[in-house]
């Protein structure tokens, strides 16, 4: 007879006992055993057992179960109402205690709800597409000679049509492009400039589920002169007028072409990584400018939808060497498919293998949420056990009156669930009101989905779960009291319990400490980044896109900008000085190691970048096309580029790029082009060889004599004069530069917010504990004072024991906090070094906070006249 079977039998019998009316149970069990014994003789033990289980389970039928309706349901229900009644009375009587419990939990839960909303949003990114499991993004993996691999997702335009034509497993393949170009949309009088243009293949809307309000998904982008607008963009172009079927004129550079609106898309949901206001068909560019069949020009992303049941492995093997076969420049690049469903959260690759991505943030947020709720639960546990002495008489009387342990446990769980539910309601309301501010802080647009049943279900499960988890230990602890001892007056909370309480406080404050350390480090890093010298003069510098007639009127516009005194200097560039245009590892220079794959940024300018942007020339001279006509193929290097290229004397050196030999005329001091988080990239500023096509951004250094407002007014007037079809849109470089800090700033707000919450919850708990400790030792304090102890001595005595867990928290959690922040700083190339003083500062601040909290309570008690505390016994 093995034990497992026996325990199954026991479980079945237990179940039977549970649903069977008590007065019938004995004879039914007896009959079952009798039959079992008969069956053993006839069929053998195994079969008999099986039959027993079956026979027993068959008793679960209305004829049996309904017989105990009255005995089983009524009494527990009656008791349950009683429990809730007692619980609410106790809550109301101990207002301070209930407040600490409920508010502590409510704060923790509010934080958890907000984080939960955020996490659900992040996890839902692009998961709404039908057949999402068949949609893949094509990635590149380049393997360098040393075996190191590098992955990216930009692919050549020609890839999608090739996949579609040559691979039977592909249902459809499309290119999706976001070009940084100024496109002017005009409908009637209304004109809007968009600086990002999105081109797609017609199947785009068949792969991705962006529902059309108007238009036929099968034909929507068939015609080269058709355009699909989002509802929002259509509204801003056409107002209340129907946009579908109307004509929109799109102008870019030289062309002015009417497009028919063939589709209106429902506004894109916020949980997608696709951002566009309009979609233009590739066929438009291709019928006008020809097809881009260059396999080395990675200008689009490619998306593939597989046929149902098609093998991903086979297709991956098929496309692996596609690029190698079609290029002959020895580029060792492999293609592979990466699922759409993992695109948002897992799109960081390290050395050719997926290495997380946004999911890391999500995990951190998740841990943060769980910790918040945990420390709130700890408060509940600690306070309930600390004030156990108050409830001990109640427990004893209940036990004497015949309460069994089970019913006491139920009673205490009811209490904790009641506290949790109150906290849940408060936190829901709080979350509702805080959400708009939270959205601003974290730059999201989260919503409380109150129509969603799963939201309520999740919330209910969490709240009741928190109530049960927090209430479990106190319930078993409180219900374990021996009535005889308590009623004799021999109650004393054991020391063992204090140790557990200390441990929990240690965890609470360790968590708070970790958060404080994070806040300090993130704060330092933010300041460090913001104080970084950008390498150019951001103030009084604006840029605009060169559009429409401005291309041909540029010289006149420029001259007048300067002659009116509005601008000191203007420079045309290929991209705003705050953004990258393109980069390459393909530049060649004398003495370059053929294995050197250093990526170098391209930045085209015409002239005068040092006066316009304030970039400092440290060697040679700035470009001056009027004085030196050969400057059209001149380049300026930044210091990083000089270093990367290993030039001893850079002036006069030749760098080859795009088939042109560029000569170095100057070196500029390093400046921040892409991101202040990163080390300065090598930048090559190339001359105006490619003409106005490459130079579509105009940087204007405003004169400081007049106010910015007046200057801009002058410029706007000039713009109207020279480019009347386009609205005047301009950007301040300093504002654009500020945006680069958005991410770290929101990290800073989040960490400081949750640090505040954690400290608040921890202190609430500590305050509660101190209150009860003081209460329990009030006579001791009185006696000590009578014996001549000073107030200070008493404070010292009581505070040291309470501060011990906090000292432990500092000792135990500091190394973890240190490692965590080291890890976080790794993601910044330009970063502070972690100083031990951060830990010291965090530790002393948390000690100070704890000390203040405790001392406030203790001081009050120590001041009490011993006559008052000792008078009654």
């Amino acid at each position: 007879m093995n034990k497992q079977k026996n325990s199954l039998l026991r479980a079945v019998m237990r179940l039977l006992e549970w649903f069977c009316p008590d007065y019938l149970y004995e004879e039914i069990e007896g009959d079952l055993i009798e039959r079992y014994n008969k069956n053993v003789k006839v069929y053998g033990e195994r079969v008999a057992k099986r039959k027993l289980v079956w026979n027993a389970l068959r008793f679960f039928r209305p004829g049996i179960v309904l017989r105990n309706k009255w005995t089983l349901n009524l009494i527990p229900l009656y008791m349950l109402t009683n429990y809730f009644k007692i619980a609410s009375r106790i809550m109301i009587r101990n207002k301070g205690y209930s407040m600490i419990n409920i508010f502590g939990l409510a704060i923790g839960l509010t934080g958890a709800i907000l984080l939960g909303l955020w996490i659900t949003r992040e996890v839902s990114y692009d998961q709404f597409h039908q057949d999402k499991h068949r949609i893949y993004n094509v990635w590149n993996k380049q393997i360098h000679k040393g075996g190191e691999a590098f992955c990216w997702s930009a692919t050549p335009r020609v890839l999608a049509p090739t996949l579609q034509a040559d691979f039977s497993a592909v249902e459809s393949a499309i290119s999706y492009a976001s070009y940084n170009d100024s496109y002017l949309f005009s409908a009637g009088e209304k004109r809007i400039i968009k600086n990002i243009a999105n081109f797609v293949d017609p199947d785009f809307l068949k792969i991705f589920t962006f529902p059309l309000l108007k238009g036929n998904v099968n034909k929507v982008l068939e015609n080269p002169n058709s355009v699909v607008l989002t509802e929002r963009f259509a509204k801003s172009l056409f107002g209340e007028k129907e946009a579908f079927g109307e004509i929109v004129t799109v102008s870019q550079g030289e062309f002015n072409i009417p497009f028919t609106v063939t589709g209106i898309l429902k506004n894109l949901p916020s949980n997608t990584d696709f951002h566009f206001d309009f979609l233009l068909p590739f066929s438009f560019i291709e019928s006008n400018y020809g097809k881009d069949v260059n396999w080395s020009n990675n200008s689009v992303t490619t998306w593939v939808k597989l046929k149902e049941g098609a093998s991903l492995e086979a297709l991956n093997a098929g496309i692996k060497d596609l690029k190698k076969r079609n290029t002959n420049n020895g580029e060792n690049t492999q293609l592979f498919l990466y699922p759409l469903t993992r695109n948002h959260l897992y799109s960081r690759f390290e050395n050719g293998v997926p290495a997380g991505g946004r999911i890391e943030i999500i995990r951190i947020l998740g841990i943060l949420g769980i910790c918040l709720v945990t420390i709130a639960c700890i408060n509940f546990i600690n306070l309930s056990t600390a004030r156990a002495s108050r409830r001990s008489k109640e427990v004893a009387v209940r036990k004497v009156n015949g309460a069994i342990r089970y019913s006491l446990v139920t009673q205490f769980l009811c209490e904790s669930v009641l506290v949790a539910i109150s906290a849940g309601v408060i936190s829901l309301v709080a979350a509702y009101f805080i959400l708009p501010f939270f959205n601003v802080l974290v730059q999201q647009d989260l919503t409380l989905n109150i129509k969603d049943i799963s939201f309520w279900l999740g919330l209910f499960v969490i709240v009741v779960g928190v109530g049960i988890i927090a209430g479990c230990y106190p319930a078993f602890y409180l219900s374990s009291f021996r009535p005889a001892r308590i009623l004799k007056g021999a109650f004393a909370a054991g020391n063992g319990k204090n140790r557990l309480r200390g441990l929990l406080v240690t965890f609470q404050f360790g968590f708070a400490l970790t958060l404080i350390v994070s806040t300090i480090v993130v704060f330092q890093q933010t300041i460090f980044l913001q104080n970084r010298d950008s390498g150019y003069e951001k103030n009084n510098l604006v840029y605009q896109y060169i559009t429409g007639d401005l291309i041909k009127n540029f010289e006149a516009y420029k001259n007048e900008l300067i002659s009116t005194g509005a601008a000191i200097s203007v420079t045309r560039t290929s991209s705003p000085i705050t953004e990258r245009l393109s980069n390459t590892s393909g530049m060649k220079w004398k003495g370059k190691d053929p294995e050197d794959k250093t990526v170098i940024e391209r930045f085209y300018i015409d002239e005068g970048i040092s006066t316009t942007a304030g970039v400092e020339i440290i060697l040679g001279r700035d470009m001056d096309i009027a004085k030196y006509p050969s400057d059209s193929t001149a380049i300026l290097l930044n210091e990083a580029a000089v270093k990367a290229m290993g030039f001893k004397d850079p002036l006069g050196e030749i760098v080859e790029d795009s088939g042109i030999e560029w000569h170095v005329v100057g070196v500029v001091k390093d400046f921040v082009l892409t991101s202040p988080h990163r080390a300065v990239e090598p930048i090559v500023m190339q001359g105006c060889k490619f003409g106005p096509n490459m130079l579509n951004v105009l940087h204007i250094r405003l004169s400081e004599n007049l106010g910015v407002k007046d200057n801009l007014k002058t410029i706007a007037d000039l713009h109207l004069k020279y480019n009347q079809n386009y609205p005047f849109e301009y950007y301040f470089v300093d504002t654009e530069y500020e945006r680069k800090f958005a991410n770290i700033e929101s990290t800073l707000t989040i960490t400081s917010l949750f640090t505040g919450i954690a400290i608040l919850i921890g202190c609430l708990g500590l305050l509660g504990l101190a209150t009860y400790m003081v209460e329990a030792r009030i006579k001791e304090i009185g006696i000590r004072k009578v014996m001549g102890s000073s107030v200070f001595n008493i404070i010292k005595l009581l505070s040291t024991s309470s501060l011990k867990p906090i000292v432990w928290a500092i000792i135990l959690f500091s190394p973890g906090a240190w490692l965590a922040m080291k890890w976080w700083l790794q993601s910044y190339q330009y970063r502070i070094s972690f100083s031990i003083w951060v830990l010291v500062a965090a530790a002393s601040s948390i000690l100070a906070i704890a000390m203040i909290t405790i001392t406030l309570q203790v001081y009050r008690a120590a001041r009490i006249n011993p006559v008052n505390s000792l008078r009654s016994e």
Binding site: E27, I28, I33, R58
Partner: protein, 108 residues
Amino acid sequence: MELLGGFEELVLTMVAALKEDAYGAAITEEIETRLKREVNLSAVHVTLYRLEDKGYIKSSLGGATNERGGRRKRIFTITSAGMAILKTMREARLDLWKLIPQLKVSGR
């Protein structure tokens, strides 16, 4: 008078037949051996309780045996109402039998 279902009548008959030995397991056993018919224990129990509700049988807790792990039996005894309905049903059945032509019966 309310009539009994087939299975109820069978169980009631068994209670009457087994006298002091009429309890769930025994009745099930008897039905199985005599009628060669699979009966579930729980079905018998439920029927017994229903008959008790209707007042055709009454019960009392009886002796415990080793065989049943020391659990007591619930012994059912038929009441006069139960006897009466059993008789009524038997007579009704016999009346019906009489309607069947003799030939068919003798043909067996």
